[in-house]
């Protein structure tokens, strides 16, 4: 009973920030809500194994980032299957294999962020994590370093490289779209 109350308090405390973090990674409200729920299910399941090596918040955000990256990988896999299906003219099967949703229509709820999402997908995983977390209010470089388990200098370097690559890729993308 006490565990449940404590867990409810934890959910209440971290809910907003976890959803916001998921939204920054996924750029889709419904997906962000679904993944944030999965985060708390994972937290509930492994709360007993939390050893206290890191801060509770750091541990929760680590799970959040990991779940978001899993979701992004799942999306990219769906995209690949869907593209392959289109190429081979077997859309029905590829839809079925990829889970029924057409990524092109489902993913870009926020049309104005379409280009940013495409560009973020080209970043290496660690650059994407550092860059995305740096854009969320409340995450200092030190906290990002703790979440990623690297030094603050490494975080700054990752953010710098991510910014540079994002700008370059955006220039190319917008040029091609024009």
């Amino acid at each position: 009973m006490g565990d449940k109350t404590a867990f409810n308090q934890l959910v209440h405390h971290y809910r907003s920030s976890v959803i916001t973090t998921c939204y920054r990674f996924l750029l889709h409200q419904q997906d962000a809500e679904d993944v944030s729920q999965d985060v708390f299910v994972a937290v509930y399941q492994s709360l007993s194994s939390f050893r206290g090596d890191a801060k509770l918040s750091t541990w929760i955000y680590r799970i959040t980032v990991s779940k978001c990256l899993d979701e992004i990988k799942k999306r990219n896999r769906k995209k690949r299957i869907s593209s392959l299906g289109k190429l081979l003219h077997i859309d029905i099967f590829s839809d079925w294999i990829s889970g029924g949703t057409m990524p092109d229509t489902a993913l870009h709820e926020n049309e104005r962020l379409r280009e940013v999402e495409i560009v973020l997908n080209t970043l290496p995983e660690n650059q994407r994590i550092a860059f995305t977390l740096s854009k969320i209010d409340g995450f200092s470089t030190t906290e990002i370093a703790e979440i990623m388990n690297i030094t603050t200098v490494a975080v700054e370097s990752l953010i710098y490289r991510a910014k540079k690559k994002t700008t370059q890729e955006l220039v190319i993308l917008l040029k091609n779209n024009d």
Binding site: Y23, Q37, Y44, R112, V116, D137, L170
Partner: protein, 96 residues
Amino acid sequence: MKPNTLNEKVIEKLQEFESLENIYPSSDWDYELQMKLQMHASIKTTFISKYNFILVCIVLINCGLIVFSLLNESKPTTTRTTNLEVISNELLISSI
């Protein structure tokens, strides 16, 4: 597109990402979380009960095999020829 316009557009896109507003959970969020927690708990229970059932089955099969092998343990049977050979050996009777 002119380089200046392009740069402006890039900056604009990046700023849009940076200035994304926080989102707030929908009214069903808590209910859906509770559903997911219950679902995971029931999956876990089902898994544990299935695991226990399999374990019990394995133990029962092993017990059955042990009982079966004990019941069917063949007693050393001696044929008539063997008995005669033993007697003849004891009486030092050569077969030749």
